[in-house]
Amino acid sequence: MVDSLIKAPRSRLMLRLDAIRDSHLFYSFTRSWIVMVAAFFALLIVAAAALAPLIAPSNPLDLASLDLMNARIPPRWLENGDPQFLLGTDDQGRDLLSALLYGAQVSIGVALLSTVLAILIGVTVGLIAGYYGGIIDTVIMRLTDVQLTFPAILTALLVNGATRAILGDRQIQGSEFWILVVSIALAFWVKYARVVRASTLQERNKDYVHAARLIGVKSWKIIVHHILPNVLGPVTIIGTISLALAIITEATLSFLGVGLPPSHPSLGTLVQVGNEFLMSGEWWIVFFPGIVLAGLALSVNIVGDWLRDALNPKLR
């Protein structure tokens, strides 16, 4: 009786888990089944994409394994379906399920890397502008004003086109992935820079920063060790929401034919390829990549929205 009331000492890991379970964030997470479904769906796609080489029936990048005789086979459960290809095949005889898994991997990779790069650029610029102020701040903020006049997709397209012109056709081959990452990052860094600058302006005048400066801590150390941790809060929220935007932007650029080449599947290129066969009734080539893309963007959006509301102290 008494024994059961006294809790066994809990390990550090268990305490951590308890803290998470008791947190406001986790509570609000379990309150909404839509958010839970969305998070589950997003994680499922990310996991499937990460494990693509292990679970995909074939390797769509291995051109030798493709057979044009297998082109445009409908999904397995339809008439003329082939049990070998669960979701059917595209015009080159690629297994659509495999192409989808590898494509999702590329799309998510581009989105994650470009968001991280955008955060790195934006946070650095924002910290410098906010901490040093003066003419540096004015110039940087004016430049962000100019960039904000343009929609992100246009900036991404312009950076993309300029890179293509500089590199020339031959050098582009193989580096499309990184061109995409850089163009998306350069289109989205401004948001982070402005948010971080605004919080840095506030933090800069707080006592702990003055104290650090008084005892002779170097500027860069104050920025990195003291201010940075205090301005990262909003960045994580914007980052989650921008992730959905980055996924859509990647797909859009690839769809427009300035992203990855058609031989290299991403969700956007798969939709682009499939779009050409829509008229002739082969709907599955565009349908499955489209559904995955839309589902992924929607679920990341839902999770991002929830995160913003849950972490916003005004709404509690």
Binding site: V146, T149, F150, G161, I166, F255, L256, V271, N275
Partner: protein, 325 residues
């Protein structure tokens, strides 16, 4: 008021100068004007002559000023791919894009505002929930997927509407090819306009809804009810009117976004507008077209921002007072 106007004009000019410098850098350093204009077997002497003729040996600041001066006179150089002056190419395609953007924004405003008012008044009705859920999907779906979906439904399956192109167009004094006067042109406009306007529609709707909900909580609405005004007078004459300031701002800025997003819509529907031209120029690294498009869109965006700011002051007396003080 005048001081505010001058300051805004100054800021707009500053933005334009920065954009012009970026466009010049693109034009001069990313693209190589000479090698694109001479034939493959031109001698070095010929190249040098052309270089001197184009003024590429002048100091950079002179070249930049020259570039801006020429741009002000609509001389954007010659397209690498089409071998035609860029201004002609853009001029031919501009009507298609402007008509598309205009109809799309009419669609977004015409449907977005009523839906916003409805969902703002009936906060918890079933229809509101359906509309709000639909709007979240509308925000999340990429534009090109919406376009493909609409093509599949209305062109491939139902055969109601054409899936690509502008249909018949008629010419206005040889200057403006319009698709608005023929039934074929109008039918061709429906799907692209809906695709392009859907995102703005959800945006306008959500904004009107949240503004309506806020305004309906205020005292003067309660006073209006106490005076026994009809619902219609309260909702439309009092509440809606006061939500319009932020709505106009957003619509103004969003028209710029519409023109940028028409790049995607025009690609999906093979709509022969400026966006399609621009995306081809990105694919072929056709720098003069990219530079010109950059300048042109900057002019459009900056003008829209300026007009919105001025309208803002004209509509809302509170802002006028605040600026004067």
């Amino acid at each position: 008021m005048l001081a505010f106007l001058i300051r805004r004009l100054f800021e707009a000019a500053l933005v334009m100068i920065v954009v012009a410098i970026v466009a010049f850098t693109l034009f001069r350093f990313v693209g190589d004007p000479v090698s694109q204009m001479v034939s493959q077997d031109a001698t070095i002497a010929q190249r040098e002559a052309l270089k001197a003729e184009l003024g590429l040996n002048d100091p950079l600041i002179v070249q930049c000023a020259h570039f801006i001066w020429k741009s002000l006179h609509f001389d954007f150089g010659i397209s690498y791919k089409f071998r035609e002056p860029v201004v002609n190419l853009l001029g031919q395609r501009m009507p298609a894009t402007l008509e598309l953007a205009a109809i799309a924004s009419l669609f977004a405003i015409g449907i977005g505002i009523p839906l916003g008012v409805y969902t703002g008044i009936n906060r918890d009705s079933l229809l509101t929930r359906v509309i709000m859920a639909g709007s979240l999907i509308g925000v999340s779906l990429p534009t090109f997927l919406i376009g493909i979906l609409l093509i599949y439904l209305f062109a491939v399956t139902l055969h109601w509407l054409p899936s690509y192109g502008r249909g018949e167009t008629t010419s206005f004094f040889g200057l403006w090819q319009t698709g608005l006067l023929t039934s074929g042109g109008l039918r061709a406009l429906v799907l692209p306009a809906v695709t392009l306007g859907l995102f703005q529609l959800t945006l306008v709707m959500r904004l009107v809804r949240s503004e309506m909900m806020e305004v309906l909580r205020t005292d003067y609405i309660r006073f209006g009810r106490a005076r026994g005004l009809t619902n219609r007078a309260i909702y439309f004459a009092h509440a809606l009117k006061n939500t319009l300031v932020p709505v106009i701002t957003v619509i103004g800025v969003e028209i710029g976004t519409l023109i940028a997003f028409s790049i995607i819509t025009e690609t999906v529907f093979q709509w022969p507008g400026m966006g399609l031209l621009f995306i081809q120029s990105v694919q072929f690294a056709d720098i003069p077209i990219m530079a010109a498009y950059l300048l042109l869109s900057a002019v459009i965006f900056v003008t829209l921002n300026l007009v919105v700011d001025i309208l803002y002051m004209l509509i809302d007396p509170r802002i006028r007072v605040a600026v004067r003080a």
